[in-house]
Symmetry: C2
Amino acid sequence: MYRTNNCGELRLNDINKEVTLSGWIQKVRKLGGMTFVDLRDRYGITQLVFNEETNAELSEEAQKLGREFVIKIKGTVAERSNKNPELPTGDIEIAVRNLEILSKSEVPPFTIENETDGGEEIRLKYRYLDLRRPVVQKGLILRHKTAQEIRNFLSNKGFLEIETPFLIKSTPEGARDFVVPSRMSEGKFYALPQSPQVFKQLLMIGGYDKYFQITKCFRDEDFRADRQPEFTQIDCEMSFVEREDILSVFEEMTKHLFKTVKNIDFKEAFPRIKYDDAIENYGSDKPDIRFEMKIHNISEIVKNKGFKIFNDAEYIGAICAEGLANYSRKQLDKLVDFVKRPQIGAKGLVYVKYNEDGTFKSSVDKFYSQDDLKTWADKLSAKPGDLLLVMSGNKKETLTQLGELRLEMGERSGLRDKNKFAPLWIIDFPLFEKDEETGQLHAMHHPFTSPKTEDTELLETNPDAIKADAYDLVINGNEIGGGSVRIHTVEMQEKMFKHLGFTKEEAEEQFGFLMNAFKYGAPPHGGIAFGFDRWVALFNGSDSIRDVMAFPKNNAGRDLMIDAPSEIDKLQLDDLHLKIVKK
Amino acid sequence: MYRTNNCGELRLNDINKEVTLSGWIQKVRKLGGMTFVDLRDRYGITQLVFNEETNAELSEEAQKLGREFVIKIKGTVAERSNKNPELPTGDIEIAVRNLEILSKSEVPPFTIENETDGGEEIRLKYRYLDLRRPVVQKGLILRHKTAQEIRNFLSNKGFLEIETPFLIKSTPEGARDFVVPSRMSEGKFYALPQSPQVFKQLLMIGGYDKYFQITKCFRDEDFRADRQPEFTQIDCEMSFVEREDILSVFEEMTKHLFKTVKNIDFKEAFPRIKYDDAIENYGSDKPDIRFEMKIHNISEIVKNKGFKIFNDAEYIGAICAEGLANYSRKQLDKLVDFVKRPQIGAKGLVYVKYNEDGTFKSSVDKFYSQDDLKTWADKLSAKPGDLLLVMSGNKKETLTQLGELRLEMGERSGLRDKNKFAPLWIIDFPLFEKDEETGQLHAMHHPFTSPKTEDTELLETNPDAIKADAYDLVINGNEIGGGSVRIHTVEMQEKMFKHLGFTKEEAEEQFGFLMNAFKYGAPPHGGIAFGFDRWVALFNGSDSIRDVMAFPKNNAGRDLMIDAPSEIDKLQLDDLHLKIVKK
C-alpha cells in the first residue's frame, strides 16, 4: 500500500496516528539536528520531520532527497511546535520512521511553484511538470467541476448527451476544415467537425428533443492570440421551442454554474440588449457591462463650429472617464498612440478635461468655447474631475474604436474586476452581413439561422433589415455562447441559400442530406453552443484558454511536448495515396 | 408555445385538462365518424381524436395527415371508452379543438417502428429517420444514462475528467493512425489518437492522481464485422496504486452500473481467472461463464488405443453438451462443418453420444470400447443423454477451436441468455507474445505494462515466462475493459523497449517525451480502459455497437448519410502541400 492518507488531509485530531504517505519532494531544509521535508501531492503539502538524534542514518538519507523525487514514508502524526497557519495541514508534521524512494528526479528545468521562473515555451515543452503547479491543477479541477455541473444540470432537465461523429464530410466552404485522408477510399478525405451543428439538427429531426454534448471541435485557422486548433464546445439543441424557451433553460444553467462553481448568486434576470443598442452604446456586440461608461452620440451638438474634422464626420461619439481630468499631457499622448495602433486604426482622439474648478481644457479649444464644452459634458452627465474622450469618422468604425477605448479606460480605472461577473444576452442580431466590396450577403451566424417571424416578409423586399432569431451570451466582454432558432422547412432553407448566393447545386452538394431530412417532418428547433474553454478561463480568472487545457498547443499550433505535427513514413503516405508537394 | 405536455405523460387524473401537444404522426385511422391519430415523440404516443359531428372541417384535415407529419394540437384530455393497456397513456385521448401542421413529410422510405421493413443500408442513409424508432432511442437513452452514471461515480471517488488532445503525433509503428495534414507546417502531419494512453501517463507524472475521460479514439483498420473507425473509450488511470486498488475501484464501478442501469445486484466479488486457466478451461481469454461446459484435457486417457490422429496429437480436449445425445446424423455433420469453417479451421470433430440407456455411440467406435468411452464420460462428469465433443491437434489451436465450439453449443442450448450477465476478471496475462516466425517478442498489452514484481528477475533469463501485472474485465464473452500497472522508471522502460526490439533511437523517436518525463519523478501508476460502445451494446442487448451509436459508419467505414469520405478541393489540397497519387 502506497498511502493511508493524502498530503492535504491530516489535522490535529489525527495526532499519534500511524500513517503512510506518498508524494513529491517540494523542499528539504536542515535546521540543527532536524531535517524538514515538504511532501506534495494534488491535495496539499504535509511536513515530514527527520531527527538526527533518534535516527541518524534515516536523517542523512532525507538530506539527500532532491526536488521532485517521489517517495513513500511511514511515520507518526505529531503536533508541530512551530505551526504554519498558511497550510491547512500546518498544525501537524510526520515523524518519519521509514523512507522509500519510489523514483528519482533530475533537477526540474523550472520551479514547481505557483510563481515559477519558467517561461511559456519551456513550460509547454515540459508540460507534465508545469501540470504539477498547484495553480494549474486548480484550473483543471475547476474545469472538471464545471463540466460535471453542466452535465448534471442538463441531464436533470431531460437532455441527452449524444455523441456525434468526428470523421465527417468536408464542405467546399470548409477552408477551415482539418481533413483526414482515407486509406480505404483512394483520393478521398474525411473532415474533422468545426462544430456538430448539422448533426444536432439531424438529431432534432430524429426526435431527440433535448440534446447536449461537451465535445471537441476543430478549426484550421491562421493562429491568432489565444486560439487553439482544437477546442471544446458545450453544444445544445431543443425541439418544439421558441427563443424564450431556450434562453430560459440556459440562463438557468448559467446561474446554476455561477452558484455551484463560483458561489455567486444571480437573482435577477440577465439584461437583454439588442444588437443595435449594444453597438450604439458600447461599440461592441459583446459589451463588458461590469462598468457603465456608455458611448454617447454627440454628432448633433459638435457640428458647425468650424472644426472641419467633426463637420465632415458621419458620426462623432464620446465617452466619459470618471475622475481622470488630471491625466497628464504624456498620459493623453499615450492614449492617442493607443487608438492609432493598427489593431484599432483610429486617426486621432479629442480630449476634454472637466477640471475640478469647473473650467474645461480640451485639444479643440481653438474651435469650441467653454460653453460649448459644457454642453458636451452635460450630454454625457460628466462632473468636474472627469475626462471626456471624443472620436469621429465613419459611424461603424468609430463606434468600434470607441468600444476599444472604453474597455481600455475601464481597465485603467480598475473597473474590470476579475472577481466581478456581468452576464447578459445580446438579441436581435442582423440575419445577414453584407460584403462591402461585392455586395454579397453572408449569414451573420450560420445559414441555418431563422429570421424573426415578424421579419420574414422582408426577405423579398429588404433582406438587409431582417433581424435573426439569434442570441449570444456575453460575460465580461467575452462571447461565451451563441445560438439561434433554426429554419426547419425546406422552403425557407432554400430561400436562405439563394440569398446567400448558393446555386441549387452547391446547396445540394454541401447540405443535401440536411435538406433531404427537412422533407421528412422536421420539428421547430433551436439551440446554443458555448465556448467551454473560454468559460472555464473566465471562471478561473485566466487570461488565456491555454491555462485551463491540460495539453495546449502553442500559438503556432504546435505541441511542443510531443513535437507535433511531424513527418510521417513514406510507406504511410503511399498507403494514403498521397505525395507531398514541396513549394 | 408548442406544448404543455409531452406525448408520454398524460393519465386519467389529467382528464378535462386543456393541453397543447406537438409531435409526429404515427398513424391515422378512420372509424365511422371518428378519426383517430397516434401522435408520437420520444416520450411516448398519445391518441388524438377528431369527431366529424362536432367539427367536420377539422376532422377532414386530420384525415389528410400523412405519416411523419409534424403537428401541434390543442384539445381536452378525455377518458377513452376503449382503453389500450399496452400504452402508458392508453387510458386517455385528446379531443382536438385546434390543429396546426408544423411541417409535412414525404412518405418515409421505411416504417418508423421497432420492427421496420428497412434494410441496414437504407436505414443508415436515412439515419435521422431510423433514429426515430423507439428501439433506437432506447439504446441512445441507455447510453446517456450509462455515461452519466460513470461520470458521477468516478467524480464522487475523486477522479477528474481531463481532456487530452486529438491532434497528436504519429508514431512509426502507427500504421493504424489516422493522420491530419498540417497546412501551417509543410509536409507534416498530426495523428488522431488510438487511445490517450501516453497522455494519461503524463497526467499521472503531472500529479493528477485519479484521472478519467470518456473520449473518442480512432483506428484505421481494415474493417471487420462490427468495428468502427471511431469509437468511445472510458479511459482511467490512478497513481500510488497496486493492482488490487485498481480492480477494487473498477469492480465497484461495474457493480454500480449494473445496479443503476440494469437494476441487477452483484453482491459477490467477481471471479478472477488466471489467463492460463482461462485458456485451459474455456479456450479463450474472454470466456463466457454464463454457462459451465468447461474444456477437459483428455490426452492421457485416449492415447495408445490405435487411433492415429489422437496418438499423434499434442493435445486432445473435450466438452460435454448436456442433453444433446439425441443429435441426429445431420446435426452432427453440421457441427463438423461448423468447426471446419475457415474462421475456426479445425480438421474434424469426434463425437460420443452417451445414450439414455447407458450405452455409447461414437464416431470412433472402431478404436474405443464402451468401457473406454465410459472413462471419457466420467472424466467430463457426463450423464446419460449428454453429447461429448472431442477435438485434437496442436494444443493452442485446439483449445481455441474447442472454445469456439463451446460458445456454439452454449448458444444452441440456450445458455447464453442476453438478460443474464456474468462478469469476471482475467489476470496474470503473459507480458510478451512471441512472433512464431521471427521469434521477436511483442508486448501482449502495450509496451508500458509492468511485469509482475515477483517475475521481474526473469526478464534477463526467461522473458517468455513472465506474467504481466495486467487484467481484463470480461462480461459474457466480451472483453469490456483492459489495463495494467505501468512501468514508472526509465530503467525498466528502457529494458522493456530493448526486449521488444526497439533500438535506442527508435524508442527515443517514438516515446522520447514519455521517457524524458520518467526522469522527473514518476509515481507508481496504473489504470484501465473500457470499450464504452461494446459495454452499452451489451447492456442494451444489441449484437452490434452500431445499434448504440447515433451516426455509425457502415462496415466499409463510410457514412452513408452524409456521404463521407469524399473528394476535396484542389485548392485545399494545394494548401496542404499534397497531391493525390492514383494507382
